[in-house]
Each structure stands twice: as C-alpha cells, then as structure tokens.
C-alpha cells in the first residue's frame, strides 16, 4: 500500500497539523469494515445480503431520499467544485487519498445521482462526470463512506454549507437498503434495541457495576455518593454512553456526574431500559432506527416518572439528543419545562458553578497540564448553554475551574475548526485501525505542539468515542494512553464534597 511521503523538515521542527499531503490515489481503497451478516441486518429492517437487483433498488432508494431530504437534493445540486473543502478532512490530511477529500467523497454519490436524476448526466455523462452504479462504484461507496466520521468539518468551510456527513449517511442508508450494511454499527443498534445499551450490558451486570462504584467512592472519599438504577420518582434521568459504565477513562467521568448530583442535592437515576445515550442510527442515516432508539429514552423517562433529562458526555449522542431528540421522540411536555430538555451534564455542572454551589480544590489536579479536544459533534452539530458557541466556552470554564494549567491547541484546530479524533461515525472498530490512526494524525500533531510549547500532559474530551479512540491511538503517536481524560473526571478529582447529608434534598425543580 502506498505511503504518504513525509516532507523533509529540519530536526526538531514540529509538523503543521494541517499540512496538506501529496495526492496518493487509491491508497485507502482497501480500507473497509466488515459487512453485516444477515442476523445483524434483519432486526433493523434491512435485507440480509446484497439483493439481486441491487442497482435498481439503490436508484429507487436514491429517488426516495431525494424526496425526503432537502439536504440530499440541494447538496448534490449545488456544489461548484470550488475546492475549498478539499484540504479540510482529517482523513485526507492523514492519508493523501483524493477520495477522502470531502467533495470527492460526495462525488462518489453525485456521479450516480447525475446519471439518473439530471438531464446532462442522462445524455452527456462524460461531460459532467456521471457514472452508472457499477460494482466498482459500490465498492468505492463501501470503502469511502466508511472513511467519513461525519464530523462536519467540511461543512464549516463550504460556501453553501454542504455537509459531507449527510452524504455519507445517505450512502450508508442506500447500502443498508440493498443489503450491504456495516457489521459494527448494525450489530450495536441491534443490541440497543434488544437490551437497552450498545454494549449489551444486562440489568444485573449494570447493577453490580454501579454498586461497585458506590463502594469505591465511599472508600476513597468517605462520602456515600449514590449510583441509583431504575429508581422511580427520581428528579433526573441520566442517560450516558454505555462506555461510562465500565471502561477507562470513561467511568471516571460517570463518578464525576454522580458527585455533582450528590453535591447538588438532587435525586437521580439511570434506567436499565433506556441506558444508552449514543444513537448509532444516526451513523447509518436511518431515521427509523434513530427514532426507535430515541423512543426508548422517552419511555424510560415516562416509566420512571422523572422530571428532568440529563445526558452524559458523548459527542454524537449529544448531537442526537440536543438536535434530534425533540423531533424524534418529543414533545416532552411531561418534564419540568424550566430546564432545558434534554440538558447536558456540563450545562448542569456549569449552572451550579454559576450559582456558587460547587467548590473545587484545584490542587488535586496540580499534576495535570491540560488541553481540550472539542468533540466535533458537540462543536459543529449541537450547542451547550443558551448562547451560540456555549459548547466551546462551557467545558473550558469547567476545566479552568478545576485545573490551574490550561492551554488550548492551535486556533485553527479547535472550536468550530476542531479536528476529529479519527474514530467517530461508526469507525471505532478494529478492522479500521489503519484509517483511524491516519485520521488522528492532524489532532495528534496539534497535541504535540502544545505538549512541546506548554508541557501539556493531558487532553480532556467529552465524547465516549473520542476517549476510546484516543486511548488506542495516543500510544501510536508517542503519548501515554492515560493522557486522555473526561471533563467530569477533572471535576471528580477536584470537587469538594461537603454537603451535609439530609440537609437539603432541595431538588431545584422539586415542587409539582
């Protein structure tokens, strides 16, 4: 496989995170995820394997999407091939494969769209680069629509806001509809729909884990912080990504949420039915599956009789919650309308900080020199707080309150221009490790810069996928695996737990 050529640079000079590589056509064509077996396709309503008349079916599906999604139609029509997006994708920057340039990724679909749905493509295909949907094109779709983490970085820079994530979602939906699904995402969606979370953790295991955490925190702090499960009548239903329940470093974040709830004096619970915050239905562009998953959360909230809905730290999950939950599973008129529905745990913590209800002992994080990775789906697909851009300020405010040493990475690699971790959008599976590693390169280079300049030792993130991906790729770039931390892990380290037990179960939203 062709390698990206490293340009010469003098000793000690750090590479620019956004350095544009030479084109290496086809170098990632062989990178593709495992195809879903029929057992993972069927429960989601997709054919088990590639159907016989797949070309015809795919075009039919395209016609359907064209009528249902304005994004699909406008984005495929409007692109002027200006090239502004060509150097914006981390997978292109990391691989040099031209089909990882956002516009070229769109073109994989656009060429077929033009062939069938535009006048020029029907009669003069060579003129506008239109092509029939051949096996070769389908192979390209399968490879390159699974080399897009749906991070939306390209959409920030496109003069028309063309969002390649929408196109790769549509591409995956078309492939699902003809029986060529991706094992990783579809297997996980099956688990949420049958068990309640992505990891397939049954209630018993969940209960044992949460009890273990209670003991652990009690031992460490001497404070009886609770981790309730299925507690009817609690104020708050917490919905977190399932990695928070068992994996490092995620679980440290969950402990952070629990400590904040404890200090706030609110009652809360996790649901064994609607445990999962992540919504992989989004990755495969399936409104129906996304909706099924969202409805579980609605049902959990109704069954437990909670008043508020709070989400844990997860990028795509927060996009699905903030931007889509109300659409998919609303209206939430049965919840307390004085709070945002849904609310993010960082908003919850930040509000308490503003009200002067949280105290932090920053010395607990003295050994940490910190930077922050803006998770793309929070940065570009949703918001925190009530001001545009709150998604950048709120986590930073929390981190700065808990740690004395905070340094941002270079300005063009954070906030709305943030670089994906390389593992989002349904790519967090072992067989895609090569593209994950290469896609992480720009972010890793940005981290190298602050490590060099400011001695940064740790990077906080608020997304389960980012954290899992970084744990894996950090060592490949010479960093410590534990350099990645949750935002609420920092909170957990520094929070002062001094609420007198029983003094104020003043649930802020207490009155009926």
């Amino acid at each position: 496989m062709a390698q990206v050529k490293e340009p010469d640079r003098s000793e000690g000079e750090l590479p620019d995170p956004l350095e544009i590589p030479d084109l290496v056509p086809g170098c990632m064509a062989a990178s593709k995820p495992y195809v879903a077996a029929p057992e993972f396709q069927k429960p989601l309503g997709f054919p088990g394997e590639l159907v016989e008349n797949w070309q015809e079916k795919a075009i039919e599906k395209m016609a359907e999407l064209r009528g249902k999604y304005r994004s699909f139609r406008v984005f495929l029509d409007a692109c002027v091939k200006c090239g502004a997006c060509t150097d914006k994708c981390h997978y292109f920057l990391g691989t040099g494969d031209p089909k990882n340039m956002p516009v070229a990724r769109q073109d994989l679909l656009r060429q077929v769209y033009r062939r069938h749905f535009t006048l020029a493509g029907k009669y003069l295909p060579w003129l506008v680069g239109a092509r029939d949907l051949t096996e070769e094109v389908l192979d390209d779709w399968y490879s390159y629509f699974h080399q897009c983490s749906q991070c939306r970085r390209c959409s920030v820079y496109c003069p028309y806001g063309i969002d390649t994530a929408e196109i790769s979602m549509a591409g995956r939906e078309i492939m699902d509809s003809i029986g060529k699904g991706q094992k990783y995402s579809n297997e996980i969606i099956g688990k949420v729909l049958s068990i309640g979370n992505n990891l397939g953790l049954p209630k018993k295991a969940l209960k044992a884990t949460l009890e273990g955490l209670e003991e652990e925190v009690l031992e460490e702090t001497g404070v009886p912080v609770k981790f309730p499960l299925d507690e009817k009548g609690a104020d708050i239903l917490l919905v977190a990504p399932s990695a928070d329940y068992f994996a490092e470093p995620h679980v440290a974040g969950l402990i952070g949420y629990a400590k904040v709830f404890h200090q706030a004096g609110v009652t809360w619970t996790i649901s064994s039915y609607g445990t999962e915050a992540a919504n992989f239905g989004m990755f495969i562009g399936s409104y129906e599956n996304m909706r099924e998953i969202a409805l579980r959360i609605r049902k959990a909230a109704l069954d437990l009789g909670v008043k508020r809905l709070v989400f844990g730290e997860c990028g795509h999950a927060w996009r699905a919650a903030y931007s889509f939950l109300n659409t998919l599973a609303g209206p939430f008129d049965f919840l307390d309308q004085r709070y945002p529905i849904p609310q993010h745990i960082c908003e919850f913590t930040y509000d308490l900080m503003q009200a002067g209800k949280l105290k932090f002992d920053k010395s607990k994080n003295e050994h940490i020199r910190l930077t922050f990775h803006d998770s793309c789906n929070i940065a570009r697909g949703s918001r925190l707080g009530n001001m545009p851009g709150g998604q950048f300020e709120i986590p930073r405010a929390i981190l700065k309150a808990t740690c004395n040493h905070f340094h941002d990475m270079p300005a063009d690699t954070i906030k709305e221009g943030t670089l994906c971790c390389g593992g989002g959008g349904g790519l967090l599976t072992d067989e895609l490790i090569e593209i994950r590693k290469k896609g992480a390169q720009p972010r890793m280079r940005a981290l190298q810069q602050v490590a060099e300049e400011h001695g940064v030792t740790h990077m906080a993130a608020m997304c389960a996928i980012c954290k899992a991906q970084f744990s894996k790729v950090l060592p490949m770039y010479g960093f410590d695996m534990e350099a990645i931390v949750s935002v609420h892990q920092m909170v957990s380290n520094a929070i002062v737990l001094d609420r007198v037990e029983g003094a104020s179960q003043e649930s802020e939203g207490g009155e009926e």
Binding site: R66, R70, G83, V103, L302, T327, R383
Partner: protein, 243 residues
C-alpha cells in the same frame, strides 16, 4: 432572418431560465429537511439566520475561512458579475434609471475584474492537483463560457464596437413584441449567443448554487431544536399510534 432567430432564441432562453429556475426553487421549497442540522455555532433567531445568509451571499464568509485565494478570485468575479449585470440594465430600460447611469463607469472596470477573477479560478483548476482531480469537463466549460461572454463583451467595448443604439432598440423591441433589427456584428452575435446558452443551462447545472445556498439546511436553519419541535410531514406519519 437573424433578428427572428435571435429574438426567438432569447424568448426561449428567458423561458427556460425562469421556468427552470422556478421549478427548481419549487422543488427545493417542497422537499422537507426532517432534522435540525445547522452547522453550529448557529444563530438562535430568524433574524440571526437572515444575517448569516446575508454574510454568505455578500461576503462569502465561509469561503473566506476556507481559502483566501479561492475567496479572492471568486468574490471578485461575482462582485464584478453583479456590477456588469446591473450595468446592462441600460439596454433594457428607457429612460435609463438614474442609478444605472451612475454605475456605468464602474461597470467598465468590472468587466476586466470579472475576467481576471475567472482566469484565476481557471488557473487553479490546472495548477492545484486537488482541484484538478475534482474538475469535470463541465467545470472547465462553464468557466470558458463565462470568459467567452466577458471577453466578447470587452472586445465590443474596446475593439470591435457595435451599434449600441440599434442593439437597445432590438432588446426593447423584443420586450414589447415589436421586433427591431439586430446589428449583424459577429462579436455581438457571439456574445449574445453565449449569454443565451448560459441562461439555458443555468437550471440544469451547478449554477444552481445560487438558489441552493438559500435552501441549504446547514445554513438556513435556526438553532432552536430544544425550544421548538421540528417535524417533517413524512415523519409525522410515523407517529400515529405512538405513546
């Protein structure tokens, strides 16, 4: 004969342009955007969105963030194109509107700026490997067409001058269905032929970016999904029988 051909050509071109564009806009307007997908940070009010679109249309804000060269060439080309188009109103109005008369002197420079911007954009299609990779023949032809229009226009201004008075009466004539002869200058005929071609391909080509921008959900949506439930009609149908 020539007059009849060109008069009919322009009727056809105008019909295709307005009909085609109107149909496209109707299609875009009718197709729902079922999910809230503004690229955030995004405005939280309608007027904020209007301002965002204004900046995109007038300043090419996102393009500016992306790439200063493309922005420079692209913006100069479009600003010049706008001026040139406005300047051309003098062939269609009688008496000439006052502000159209005022911008005449700028319009002349705009012609050069437009061609320069287009040449810059075209050069990128050859010189930058990434952009060469994504360019189809139609992308080159579109630039050639516009340069052809601009070039032939400038040629008439500075080299092969045409009878502007006669031309104006031709256009006023076809607008009032009282045809007058068209001056038979080759450069003018080429210029007008290319313009008619542009009008005809507009609704079938990437020139749809102009209306497309206003319908792009990532740019035209208000960021308020928690405050207001956003539901497409086809999605509403899924709700029947839900708890």
């Amino acid at each position: 004969m020539l007059t009849v051909a060109y008069a009919l050509l322009f009727y056809a071109a105008a019909a295709v342009l307005t009909g085609g564009l109107g149909f496209r806009i109707w299609e875009y307007a009718r197709t729902p955007a079922p999910l809230k997908i503004p690229t955030t940070p995004a405005p939280t009010t309608r007027s904020g969105v209007a301002f965002r679109l204004f900046r995109e249309v007038v300043l090419f804000e996102s393009l500016f963030k992306a790439n200063k060269w493309i922005w420079l060439f692209g913006w100069v080309f479009h600003a010049a194109l706008l001026l040139v188009l406005l300047r051309h109103l003098r062939y269609f109005t009688h008496p000439i509107w006052e502000w159209v008369a005022l911008i005449q002197p700028f319009g002349v420079y705009a012609g050069f700026a437009m061609v320069a911007g287009l040449l810059g954009l075209w050069a990128r299609r050859f010189l930058v490997p990434r952009i060469r990779y994504i360019s189809a023949p139609s992308d080159h032809l579109m630039l050639a067409l516009l340069i052809g229009i601009g070039g032939s226009g400038l040629l008439m201004k500075y080299v092969a001058r045409t009878d502007i008075v006669a031309l104006k009466s031709f256009f006023l004539g076809i607008m009032t269905f009282n045809w007058q002869p068209i001056p038979a200058d080759p450069v003018l005929l080429i210029h007008l032929g290319l313009v008619a071609a542009l009008m005809i391909i507009f609704p079938f080509s990437k020139l749809l970016h102009a209306p497309g921008l206003f319908f792009s959900p990532t740019r035209n949506q208000v960021d308020n999904p928690r405050e207001r439930r956003h539901l497409a009609n086809w999605a509403r149908e899924l709700e029947a029988g839900r708890s």
